[in-house]
Each structure stands twice: as C-alpha cells, then as structure tokens.
C-alpha cells in the first residue's frame, strides 16, 4: 500500500471507523428526520476504506492537484459521504447536524464546495446515472496529461437502470481508461422493491465484461475483501475495472438490514436509539467530538 492516503489506517481502525460512520449516519438522520438510511449504512465499510486507506487527498486543500477523484454518482447516498468527510477532517463534525436544513452545506443531495456544498465534493449528484460519464471525462483528461491521479466512481445498483451509465461504461471501455475504478453498491435493493423485482440486473458481471471492463466481485461489508478488490482493480492495466461490492442495505442495524423499505426514510428517535445501541463503539473507537455529541444529545435525550 502506498502511504499516500493521509491515514492509511489498519484494518481494525477501518472497522472502527465504519462503525463510527454508521453512528454518525444514524445521528444525522435522527436530527434531520429526512434522508436516506439504508444505502448509506450499507456503504460505511467501503467509505471507511476509501477515505482512511485508499484515496489520496488533503482535507485542507481540496484542489490539491495530486488528489484522487472520487465521484458519488448515486447522490442520495450522501449521508455516508458526509459522515466520512467530517471524520476525515473536511469540515467540523458539529456541522453534521445541519443535514438537509436550510442554508446547510450538507444538501439533501451532494453539491460541490465551490457552490453551496461541502469541501471534498467535486461536482453535484442526485439525479441518478450521471457520475460514470463525469468519471470517464476526468480519467481521460488526467491520462491526457499523464497524471497519476486515480478516479473512482460509486454507483448504486438500481442506478444502473439508467442508460446514461451504460453510455459512460461503453466510453470507458472504448478508451481503455485504466485510471478509473468503478464501485457498484450491489445491495439488491432499490426504492420500490428488490432489484430483481423492479428491473433485473443479472447477470451483472457479464454486462460489464461485455462492455470491455475488468470485473472483480467482493463482499462490500468485509473490509479486507474490499481492500484486496480495489488493489486488484488498480493493478489491472489496459481496461477499466469495476468492483461489484455486495453489501447489505441497512447493514449494522438489525431491523433495517436487507430491507428495501429503509432506502429513503430516516429512523424515528426510538428507532435511532435502538440503532445506536446496536452500534456501540468498541474500545478502539474514541472519535467523540463534543459539539456534535451535544447536538445529538438534544435530539436523543
């Protein structure tokens, strides 16, 4: 592992951070009482890996030319990103309590730092299906200039219903952009139902392969499995790679797990308390920040 990530955390810390991120997601949503629980919780492990081990970035300099580019195409997953960006030092933890409130930088769907969004966010998302094309453009531009930065884009599985994603996938395959790694949050859930009920995606790996991509499948709730997958993806030359990461929607909260009905609703206060109790920090987790905890305390009581 190159020491380029500012944390380069060890496995146990990544796990602990994932748990911390989950707690933050729950707290944010309890306060906002609006927003998406299921997808974000399922992605906490992946975001922990991305920001505490994989990505190259400098939270105090968001335009650092050597940074890696990360695009969250499925913008509704914002809560996991926001929690991670806070924990990674892009903005104060206490600001998490402003999620979805008027004048916030934590917009319901991600807005970039140079408009009214958070530092670390490169471009807007929320209207599904647009991130792949953007990632391909960034990868092509970087390659043109022989720059070593890597580009990551994360898609929901339901999001893959959008044709524009396949346009972008085709373009990436056509140009063999190997400085691009896509991650699919394969939780088999979308809003209306499970993915096979709403729109069957299988055989999903075959689809990407037929679009000239290298495909790696892994368990997106298993940190070591995911890290290996991403390492493999980056090592493959001459093709873009996709990591199809199987996750569970609502992971970590018993009553949300693998239930598509948690796609877009926040936990109520009692549900939130229950969730937090299931996500008790271990001894390794000592990421408390007082202002944020105070705000949470006001709602949780």
């Amino acid at each position: 592992m190159p020491a380029s990530n500012p944390h380069n955390s060890e496995m146990r810390d990544l796990q602990e951070m994932a748990r911390q991120i989950r707690r933050d997601i729950i707290k944010m949503l309890m306060i906002s009482q609006s927003g998406h629980s299921g997808g974000p919780l399922g992605l906490a492990d992946i975001f922990s890996c991305l920001y505490f081990r994989i990505l190259k970035y400098d939270p105090s300099n968001v335009t650092w030319p050597e940074r890696d580019y990360f695009f969250l195409s499925a913008g509704h997953l914002a809560p996991v990103w926001y929690a991670t960006l806070a924990r990674a030092g892009f903005y104060p933890l206490s600001e998490m309590s402003t999620l979805r409130k008027i004048n916030t930088r934590l917009q319901g769907h991600p807005a970039p730092w140079y408009t009214h969004g958070l530092p670390g966010i490169e471009i807007a998302s929320g209207s599904l299906g647009q991130g792949m094309s953007i990632a391909v453009g960034a990868a092509l531009g970087l390659r043109m200039d022989r720059k070593p930065n890597h580009v990551y884009v994360l898609h929901g599985d339901g999001e893959l219903d959008e044709g524009q994603v396949w346009e972008g996938i085709m373009t990436a395959g056509h140009y063999s952009v190997d400085n691009l790694t896509a991650i699919v949050d394969r939780n088999f859930c979308q809003i209306d139902n499970r993915t096979d009920k709403v729109m069957e995606l299988e055989p999903l790996a075959d689809k990407w392969r037929a679009f000239r991509w290298n495909v790696i499948e892994c368990d997106g709730n298993d940190i070591s499995d995911f890290l290996v997958a991403v390492e493999e993806a980056k090592a493959i030359k001459g093709k873009p790679s996709v990591v199809i990461a199987k996750t569970f929607m609502g992971k970590g909260v018993s009553f949300m797990e693998d239930d598509y009905r948690w796609h877009g609703v926040p936990p109520g206060i009692e549900q939130g308390k229950q969730a937090l109790s299931e996500l008790e920090p271990t001894k390794f987790g000592d990421f408390v920040e007082f202002e944020w905890e105070k705000q949470v305390a006001e709602v949780v009581k």
Partner: protein
C-alpha cells in the same frame, strides 16, 4: 370579497393516486408506468389494485416515455409517473419525438415539483418543467391547485385523445379549497375571487397563497381578483385579456423559474394583445437548496407576502 376556506389538508399527489384508482376501475385500458418511485409519486395503490396493469421500468425515465408510447400505440391509455425533473427534463427529447410529435395520448404525471419539495435540494426541485413542456407543440400542461383539482385534472386528462398531457403536482399536504360545485374544464381558468384593482394569476400551490394574499390586500382596501390558471397550455386567453382590461395590473405566481413558465405565458400573450404591467412571483433564475417547503417559499420569494409585495409594486406602475 368571497372568502375561500380550506377544508383540511391533503397532498395533490394523493389526488393523483385516488384518481388512478377510479380510472383503473372505470377503464381497463388504463395502465400505469413506474420508475422506481412508486410510493412517493403514489402509484403504489394502483399497482397493488391492478398489478397486471402496472409496469415497473426501473430508474429509466427515457425508456418509460417510449414504453408508454408503445403501449399507447396498441390501444392502452398509459400514465407515466416520475418526479418533475425526471418526468420532463430527463426524457425531454423522448417526449418530444415519441409523444408530442407522434401525438401519443400519454399522460405524464409529475410529482414532487417545485422548490417546495424541500429537503431533497436543488437536483430534485423541478423548476423548469413547465417551461420545457409548454414549448412543445401538441402538449397540454396542467398544474392543479389542490387535492380535488388534481384528481379532476387527472381524470379529465383521459378525454384528451391526441397528444400528451403533462400534469404537475406537489409533495406536501396543502389546503383543500376547491369543491365539486366549481367547474373544472381543461383550458378554462377559474376566477376564484372577483376584484377590480389588480389580478393575481396563479397556478398550483400558489393559488392558495394568492387567496391569502388577496385577503391581506382586502384589509388594506385593495381589491384583488384571483384567477386559478390550472391549465397553462392551452392558455385561457379570454380570461387573461378580460382581467388585463378590467384591472390593468397583473401579478403571476408560480413555484417555477421566473423564465418560461406561467408568467412568461401571460406576458407573451399580453405583449401581443394588450400590454399590461405585470410582476412575476417566481424563483428568480436560481437553483434551489435543501430546507422545508415553507422556508424555501420565503427565502426564494414565492410566499404570500411576496405576492402582496408584488401587487403593491405593480399598482404603483398601473396607468
């Protein structure tokens, strides 16, 4: 001044949902398309009642419009449902070619329109949809003002057998103030309050705001006519002309961009027929943001106080 009262609150999208159930019962050709937002746009009740007549197309709005066109071609009456931005902007060219140019009588039912959709933020606040749909030939554009009117609009839209219809509704619960005794006819505006000093022409949620504004104005002895312009295309020119002639000052109010929407339609027409001072209550050429619907209405200048202010401004310009 007639007082118009709210008889409780319900969401306009609920009116859509209830209309669908009735249509489903009355007409076996009615089919509904869902784009993975069935619960929010409230087609889930229809899907449950008539599972064989509900088609999930996944998160694929362009495809949805084409599938609707195909269903229409073989004799079905398709209702395509999505959030406003993804119902109008995302599949614009598909709507243009496969529905409008091809005269397919598909109903495009768009929920979560306007800035009032709130916390989801700018990407989900469809503020350009009326402008987009209105500029398409052969398109009908309706923006009902409350639960009942939405229900009636959706049901009446079935009678349009040539060309698509775009119907715009909203997420939040809002006052119910129309009743069955009022007429509802596509293309025919309803004058809700008579007035002589100024006319407020509103659509959608802004109709209720306009009524409230008129009450405030009445207390200040300003007599405001309030017109519910539920159909934005075809425009009820007669009613507008009469108002322009009689009150000689207008305010338009809509949960939409200032460019291209209802206000624009009124201004275009009157410039050709009877130029009249007009103020626009609308989102002023900016994207929205997260927040509560009511907060955003205030911040972005489309609340009742903004209508009151606009009325006073236009009265100063009146000749």
């Amino acid at each position: 001044m007639t007082t118009i009262e709210s008889k409780g609150e319900k969401a306009t999208r609920q009116g859509f949902s209830d209309a669908l159930l009735e249509l489903g019962k009355e007409n076996p050709d009615v089919v509904v398309l869902g784009g993975d937002v069935s619960g929010s746009v409230k087609v889930d009740a229809f899907a449950k009642a008539y599972p064989d007549r509900f088609f999930s197309v996944g998160v694929a709005e362009a495809d949805m419009m084409g599938v609707a066109a195909g269903l229409s071609l073989v004799g079905k009456i398709p209702i395509a449902s999505a959030y406003g931005e993804f119902a109008a902007g995302r599949p614009f060219d598909q709507i243009r070619q496969s529905l409008a140019y091809s005269e397919m009588p598909v109903k495009i039912c768009a929920s979560h329109c306007g800035i009032t959709v709130g916390p989801d933020g700018a990407t989900h606040q469809s503020l350009e949809d009326v402008a987009l749909m209105r500029v398409l030939p052969r398109m009908t554009v309706i923006c009902p003002c409350d639960y009942l009117e939405t229900k009636r609009a959706v049901k009446s839209s079935i009678s349009i057998t040539k060309g698509p219809v775009y119907i715009r509704f909203f997420r939040d619960n809002t006052p119910m103030f129309t009743d069955e005794s009022m007429s509802f006819e596509i293309g025919k505006a309803n004058t809700l309050i008579d007035g002589t000093d100024v006319t407020i022409i509103a659509a959608g949620l802004q109709v209720w705001e306009a009524i409230q504004a008129a009450e405030v104005l009445a207390a200040e002895r300003i007599s405001a006519r309030v017109i519910n312009m539920h159909t934005i295309k075809p425009l009820d020119k007669k009613t507008i002309l009469k108002a322009a002639q009689e009150t000689r000052a207008l305010v338009t109010a809509e949960d939409h961009q200032i460019h291209g929407g209802l206000g624009s339609a009124v201004a275009e027409y009157l410039a050709q027929e009877h130029p009249t001072p007009q103020e626009f209550v609308a989102v002023n050429d900016t994207f929205g943001e997260s927040g509560k619907g009511a907060e955003l209405m205030k911040k972005y200048g489309i609340a009742r106080e903004d209508i009151v202010k606009a009325v006073k401004k236009v009265l100063r310009r009146k000749k």
